[in-house]
């Protein structure tokens, strides 16, 4: 029962990541693509935590932590570059 509900949640998160991928490809300006990248990485962070629960390994949570850190750094660096502050 628990695994079925978590599997449905994982499928919904995957659909959300596909929607943000649409915005990432189509987005009119670079800032739109940056917003799509931010939302996509945060959503996939929750998906990585779900996969860690499915395979019952704690080490995947560390992968999610490093992934979130790199996404935060990437968004900040690219937006500073767009602002011509870098």
């Amino acid at each position: 029962m628990i695994n079925k509900i978590l599997f449905i949640a994982a499928i919904i998160m995957l659909l959300a990541i596909l929607l943000t991928l649409y915005r990432f490809i189509k987005g009119p300006s670079a800032a739109d693509r940056l917003v799509a990248f931010d939302v996509m990485t945060v959503s996939s962070l929750a998906l990585i935590a779900l996969i860690a629960n499915f395979s019952s390994r704690v080490i995947y949570i560390d992968v999610a932590l490093v992934y979130g850190l790199l996404s935060f750094l990437g968004v900040i660096i690219v937006s500073r570059y767009l602002e011509r502050g870098l």
Binding site: M1, I2, I5, L6, I8, A9, A10, I12, M13, L15, A16, I17, L19, T20, Y22, R23, S29, A31, D32, L34, V35, A36, D38, V39, V42, S43, L45, A46, A49, L50, N53, S56, V58, I61, D62, A64, L65, G68, L69, F72, V75, I76, S79, R80, L82, E83, R84
Partner: protein
């Protein structure tokens, strides 16, 4: 195996994933960059937070790393969205047609007028 607490945690995770999906839908449907930032970032923050709380209820022996991840998301996601909105306003991303007011531009205009008055008095 199917304890009530575990089912409550699974339902929390499901509601978090629904919030993430609604945020992504807003990212596709909204007409403007700033509306997209509003819809996407806030909803994805709440959705990720709820799904991590659900996983924390399901597997309480992972509490350390999950709480660290939740605090990390709660701190970094608003910061990155704020820096993104600031950069987008400075490089002049166009607003939507239905925009009523732009407080930041009005503030800049009044400040520049004050600076001109100050320079005139100094001269």
């Amino acid at each position: 195996m199917d304890s009530t607490i575990g089912i409550i945690g699974a339902i929390l995770t499901l509601s978090g994933s629904i919030f993430i999906f609604l945020g992504a839908l807003g990212l596709v449907r909204m007409p403007d960059l700033f509306n997209r930032i509003q819809a996407g970032t806030k909803a994805s923050t709440l959705g990720t937070f709820l799904s991590l709380i659900g996983l924390l209820i399901i597997t309480p022996q992972w509490w350390g790393k999950l709480i660290l991840l939740m605090i990390f998301i709660l701190i970094t996601n608003p910061v990155s969205s704020h820096i993104l909105a600031r950069a987008a306003h400075f490089i002049g991303v166009p607003l939507a047609d239905k925009t009523v007011t732009d407080k930041y531009k009005e503030e800049e205009k009044t400040f520049s007028i004050k600076d001109e008055i100050k320079n005139d008095t100094h001269d």
